[in-house]
Symmetry: C2
Subunit: 238 residues, 2 copies
DNA sequence: GCGCGTCATTGTCGATCGTCAATTTCTGCG
DNA sequence: CGCAGAAATTGACGATCGACAATGACGCGC
């Protein structure tokens, strides 16, 4: 086991985790946590996999934040999804036969629990419950996309940005007395992608949100909230 | 076998179909097409299942058009997805454990191939390839949602409406000399839902599209295209 | 410390959208 | 045939957005 690792759990919150799958490896083994599981640490900006690459494994975000981005043929790109701790990445191309349709890159220092494709196939074969969990995740992704489609059509950009910031704050914000603060791991363009607007519009949205008084942004990437929305954030902490 | 049914195929284009699954039933049996398969016909407006109902089966659209609609708590509703012939409906709540999150209603007279839940479980258990196909479908739904999210953010409403109409025309349009025509099975509100705008905006979009000369709408629900986009439509015919 | 490139902001403009409301058209039914 | 209700259209308005361009701030390497 790796030093300081939780002996009862290979990679923190992990949708792949199953009692029947995971047994503690013998002491001394470092990267292989259990049969089929390995762990890796990613620096900010490091790729987990590239777009169009063949699927080699299924990944679970143990710590940090992974951004899924698709590059279009015209040279532009869109940040499609954020994978928070506990979420699975790469299941789309694992379940469907194929290549990654997105690039996965660490937006924060991240710990990833990896199950290479062959092991994943074996695990899934031996443990139907793991497959069920994978499919649940797949279904959840559909639900999430549908919610996003509905939200795009029915709520204002300001509301959607507000919701996104609160979600991020729930995961990565640090409480400081009555308020929260965090380093925003996303550029303005990234934020713009996630709610479906142009970067310039995002700048203006940020300003308007700040004028409303619920958020305050200082410099690039760093921002603070006065206590108004504290309860909202705490409610998002699980 | 049912009279006039294609003996080589239980329900026309059907993603559930598999050589190893389907054997012709004995002559005389009407609704049961093969082990686990049955068929039903839906009139326009008839429900395949209701929102919040428990999943009882997986369905495949053999003919016609099914609309998936979610009702929100505020009394409004949104048409989320159109299921064209060959597509599977109900897989979300079948794979995930749960209830339907949408209502499924026939928008055209439709033929549905039904596999009740227990049979579907057995079929999936005996035929991993069928499960694989189901998961493929699930993954495809994710892809489609992602495309829609990207399209909403990057293309104009006019473009998206145009694309939607061409898709419908490819499925249901009837060629008339150099042009196509069809009875539009969707109300203006439905169209508005599908591209994420308000009904009033849809009215204006329709008018603008008509002024551009590629489409012409007559009365409610009926519309015709002059030959300009004929090739586009033919390309969509598979 | 300087320069360069990227990112962010700001300004301006026209186009489009959402909303409210009024009007017209359509459809089903008696 | 006429009526009533729903759907569709149209008008008007303010708010917002996307596009383009210019400016400003920041980070990074030399």
């Amino acid at each position: 086991m790796t030093k300081n690792a939780d002996p009862t759990h290979p990679c923190g919150k992990c949708a792949f985790y199953s009692d029947s799958v995971w047994q503690p490896a013998e002491p001394g083994s470092v990267s292989v946590l259990a049969a089929g599981f390995s762990r890796q640490e990613l620096e900010v900006g490091q790729d987990l996999f590239e777009q169009d690459a063949e699927n080699r494994a299924v990944y679970c975000v143990s710590r940090g934040l992974i951004g899924l981005r698709t590059h279009h043929s015209n040279g532009k790109s869109t940040l499609l999804r954020l994978a928070y701790p506990g979420e699975i990445v790469g299941f789309r191309s694992f379940l469907g036969s194929g290549r990654h349709q997105t690039e996965a890159r660490a937006l924060l220092p991240s710990r990833i629990c990896t199950v290479v494709r062959r092991d994943a196939n074996r695990i899934v074969h031996d443990n139907p419950s793991v497959l069920a969990r994978l499919m649940d995740r797949c279904v959840a992704e559909i639900d999430r996309s549908h919610e996003r489609i509905i939200a795009t059509a029915t709520t204002s950009n300001k509301q959607r940005l507000s919701a996104l910031l609160l979600r991020l704050m729930g995961h990565f914000g640090e409480q400081d007395g009555d308020s929260f603060e965090m380093r925003l791991p996303l550029s303005r363009s990234d934020l713009a992608d996630l709610i479906g607007v142009q970067p310039e519009t995002m700048s203006r949205l940020v300003k308007r949100l700040q004028n409303d008084g619920n958020f305050s942004f200082s410099g690039r990437g760093v921002w603070i909230t006065p206590g108004r929305l504290t309860e909202e954030i705490l409610a998002r902490r699980s």
